[in-house]
Amino acid sequence: MQKEAAIREPLILGHKTYHDITEDVCRPIEDKAPKMWYILFGIALIIGLYGVGCILYLLGTGVGVWGLNKTIGWAWDITNFVWWVGIGHAGTLISAVLLLLRQKWRMAINRSAEAMTIFAVFMAGLFPLIHMGRLWVGYWVLPLPNQFGSLWVNFNSPLLWDVFAISTYLSVSLVFWYIGLIPDFATIRDRAKKPLSKKMYSILSFGWSGRAKNWNRFELVSLVLAGLATPLVFSVHSIVSFDFATSVIPGWHTTIFPPYFVAGAVFSGFAMVQTLTLIMRKAMGLEAYIHTKHVEYMNIVIMVTGSIVGTAYITELFISWYSGVEYEAYAFLNRATGPYWWAYWSMMTCNVISPQLMWFRKLRRSLLFTFFISIVVNIGMWFERYVIIVTSIHRDYVPAAWSMHYPSHIDIGVYVGTIGLFFVFFLLFARFFPVLALNEVKTILKGSGQSYKESPDYHNHH
């Protein structure tokens, strides 16, 4: 058993036993869903279906239904793509990087954060696919032998790197998540009373029996997957940033992009985890497992990554002047004072000022304030991508071609629709899947549980 400083706040509050943990996590799955779940699911489903309708209309009509024009060929959809990929960074970061760093508090949130990651990457992947216009030839991004004069995809293009990065990230995250889920599905299977749910969880649990050898392999596989996923997390958003950084557009052609995008991704991802877990812990009665200390830890991550992002903004601004390249300087001047000044300053306020408030212990331990900031951060991070993408291209080298981007209602419908679909998936997850990593939380009960920490022989335990 791992020892932990006695003065450190326990990670599991109350006097829980192993059985209590099982009960607390399985009860919401076994009980009838509360009315609120049906209401939220209904709303999310309607919004999601509206989004699907917009996508179908887009596919039937063409990408012209978006608010793009000759100057602004990339705008709303790639903003949404980068935004969702960014959100999708927290889950694997929590489960992989924090596993390698032996941060035990991750165990309360890793399962739901990983689920969030997977659903967010689903939503992200949708945007490049529909931007192709002809979704049915989407498989052309793969290097398949073909009849077009052996025409291969361009491996020198960051867009193709993105195809590989996003699909690797999605599938590896999915595998990582599922391998952790198997033993927990077995727990639900062994408790299930109704034949249908017994059958379902029996299939989902792959016949897991919890043999000592299985656990030996399980731990190694988790560790190796964490080791593989850690550089993967950093590579994915670096590669997303290459989409811009390897171009020669002033405002995009920036070597600072990879680390700055990764920090931004972690920043927005943790904000989304806060938004979701703060509601989930309350709705599912998991306050003993996800409590103020967990929220505080996540707020510290938000503060650190937010500060990295803020530093990057200012560095970028300084370098645009220091480089002496007038086009570069203009791109940034135009961002701050041009027609999109409001987007730039919303981004600055949401992403640079708001995380600095987390220096105050009172604020970072306030759940209500955290919830508010988590939403502010995600609005700010959406604007960041919009500012980078649209303000850099809306005024190019020929003033006659200068233009503005106005989203069409299809643009907005697809975006809002993905938020709906995301919540459809997340609500289904919260209803049918164990939202806490049961088998992992049980391993820290004796090291970080309140009753064990308070017991007199805690220090003598081996």
Partner: protein, 178 residues
């Protein structure tokens, strides 16, 4: 062949570990331990070797890296060299920087999936497989030690039971296998 199996259930991982230590030091072979979460330190006691899946992951990763390198060299250098902004494309080395991201991603892809699939296969955990834990409570809060008489020909059920009597077990169950 008929065999007698003893299932000893404990309600704490440390008590089971202490019990297992005692049994093993008396020469009893423990066939299996079922638990709701990994019991750290049980493997050397009951004689389970560390898994070699890590080596497999490395080999799968190496395969991925090789495939990516061979593939990209063929597509971009041999079969259809593209002139992109006049950048050199005469050899793989000239162009290697552009191939780094995909080489990395494909290595990770193959290592992770290869290892995960191998893990499921060697564990015999696949969709539709029946559960094999002796008691449904072993996925909740109970820990079960399985002792087979065929592994312990020097002992009788009674002698094993007497060894177990002061290990603080929760339940004891005997089964005949035909």
């Amino acid at each position: 062949m008929s065999d007698k199996v003893i299932y000893v259930m404990y309600d704490d991982d440390h008590i089971l570990k202490d019990g297992a230590k005692k049994l093993v030091s008396n020469g009893v072979k423990i066939a299996e331990v079922f638990s709701p979460f990994p019991i750290h330190g049980i493997d050397p006691i009951i004689g389970i070797k560390n898994t070699r899946l890590g080596i497999m992951a490395f080999l799968y990763g190496l395969t991925g890296l090789t495939l990516a390198t061979v593939g990209m060299r063929y597509f971009m250098i041999v079969d259809w060299p593209m002139n992109i902004g006049g950048k050199p494309n005469f050899s793989y080395l000239d162009n290697i920087l552009a191939f780094v991201p995909i080489s990395f991603e494909f290595t990770v892809l193959c290592a992770a999936h290869g290892m995960a699939i191998t893990y499921l296969l060697v564990n015999k955990t696949l969709p539709g497989m029946p559960a094999q834990n002796p008691d449904p409570r072993t996925t909740d809060d109970k820990f079960v030690m399985e002792i087979r008489l065929s592994d312990n020909s020097n002992f009788t059920v009674e002698t094993i039971e007497s060894l177990l009597s002061d290990t603080g077990y929760f339940e004891l169950d005997k089964k005949e296998i035909k």
